[in-house]
Amino acid sequence: MNQIAFLGAIESGLVFGLVAFGVFLSFRILQFPDLTVDGSFPLGAAVSATLIVNGNDPWLATLVAAIAGAGAGLITAWLNVRLKILHLLASILTMIALYSINLRIMGRPNVALLGEETLLTPFESGSLPYYITTPLVFSVIVLIILVLLVKFLYSEIGLAMRATGANPRMARAHGINTGRMILLGMAISNALVAIAGALFAQSQGSADVTMGVGVIVIGLASVIGGEAVMSTRTMLLAIIACLVGAILYRLAIATALNLDMLGLKSQDLNLVTAVLVTAAIVFPGMKRSLSGVFTRGDS
């Protein structure tokens, strides 16, 4: 693997680190298997790309993308909390609806950002090439979000949210409005994913309506992978593990695609991911990964 491919893997690892943070919040903290992610990732891309193409500031565009993602998460949570629709189904409904919404937002299946002013434009004029500046800028953004997220999880509300997922009955007995916590947590989760989508679109140079396919699986693979390679005893470690997992995952994929002897092509990506995630869930040696949501009953 050459340097450009390596840095490219780091770059998308950082972006999918944000997805992993979101997936960690929903799957792990709230015990809410949320597939909205496959819709909120392209939603973030669509919103930011459309705003940028229309001449808006890229930071503002990314912020609006985050708010749109939060809205998507709120809808899924609302379908579950207020209308009592099964969490998995509620998230699939939102995901499907977002496909149409994303097409509406962009007005066409994809929006190109070539030559547009993005978050990365100001850093491109310097002496460093794009494949170094992009991961640098992204790592600053991701680290800031990581610190804020960890601080949140250690706050009173963050603690209440963790209790909501772990033991809702006890949480209510201690005065926690569990419905509201699910709404808030899902909003934050999907806002993070939408930011990831916005960053991804700006670094790749386009937003596409199909770019969300399988994002949830990559997010899960990152969360599980992180848990397999390091301790997640504290919230800080658990969040760092998400980022580590995402970067390792992208590096593993880049390596696999670069090894000619394996004969893998880029179209095999989703198949490889699915196999990896399955292995991580099933292999008992890889910790008690994903206990709860998918293997409930025997844990």
Binding site: F152, Y154, S155, E156, I157, G158, L159, A160, R162, A163, A166, N167, R169, M170, A171, R172, A173, H174, G175, I176, N177, T178
Partner: protein, 265 residues
């Protein structure tokens, strides 16, 4: 003062399995009273407790706590007034959270939670003091996960958690039933101490007639959704288990053995 007026609860309304869980319950509990509740399976003890905690809502009737109408208020919204210890030691605490995080969570009961850090040195010192009284050495294990503790230890911590913040009433739901005899005695004694210290108004559901008479200031017995007798003060002193059974027979015109009460719960 806690006051229940004409509380009626039906389960499975409109289905073939419709059952009247509570048939017109009237009950007043004065401040500082320690009421023990006994009754066989299906007598309505748990439903009564759930009505007070908000986990079940009454079909009709009113529930007042210090003249505040709580009849339709949800569990989380009345948690500032009602504290509870569950029967299952695993239900009252969060095993994924540390001991100190569980206690911090309990400190938020009845208050608004914000974005400030949930834990700080002050709180940790307070928790250490509180844990020391248990004599279980937990004061040195603040950052251990709750899941590492035994059932008895967890129940003792649950009790602390329920009493960290003031409440108008403390609900104990057979909270020693799932423990071994020695641990049960320890948790019960601890409950008595804390209740006396803070002069807490308490309602304790128990499966044991012996326990119902040994602790508390008042005992009520429930049967088929009704309160069949209610003894306190001098009338209660000197009562023994056979006296309770006799009292039940007299009021109810049915005979009931100690065994059927004990075994059916």
């Amino acid at each position: 003062m806690i006051s229940l007026r004409n509380i009626i609860v039906t389960f499975g309304k409109g289905t073939p399995l419709e059952t009247l869980a509570l048939r017109s319950i009237d009950l007043d509990i004065d401040r500082g009273e320690f009421v023990t509740v006994i009754g066989s399976n299906g007598a309505g003890k748990s439903t009564l407790l759930n009505i007070l905690s908000g986990e079940a809502l009454a079909d009709s009737g009113t529930l007042l706590i210090d003249n505040e109408d709580l009849t339709r208020r949800l569990t989380h919204a009345r948690a500032g007034l009602v504290a509870r210890v569950f029967q299952d030691p695993l239900a009252g605490t969060c095993e994924q959270l540390t001991i100190e995080e569980n206690l911090a969570l309990a400190c938020g009961r009845g208050r608004n939670r914000g974005l400030t850090k949930a834990l700080n040195t002050n709180l940790r010192n307070r928790f250490k003091q509180q844990l020391e009284r248990l004599g279980l050495g937990l004061e040195n294990r603040l950052s251990d996960q709750m899941g590492l503790l035994s059932g008895g230890q967890r129940q003792a911590v649950s009790l602390l958690m329920a009493t960290l913040q003031p409440a108008k009433i403390l609900l104990l739901d057979e909270h020693t039933a799932a423990l071994d005899p020695k641990t049960a005695a320890f948790v019960l004694e601890l409950s008595r101490e804390i209740i006396q210290e803070q002069s807490l108004t308490t309602l304790m559901v128990t499966h044991s007639m012996r326990q119902a008479l040994d602790v508390g200031t008042r005992t009520i017995m429930m049967h088929q959704g009704r309160i069949v007798f209610d003894v306190s003060g001098q009338q209660r002193e000197g009562l023994d288990v056979p006296d309770l059974l006799a009292l039940f027979e007299k009021r109810q015109g049915e005979s009931l053995t100690d065994d059927s009460l004990l075994l059916s719960t």
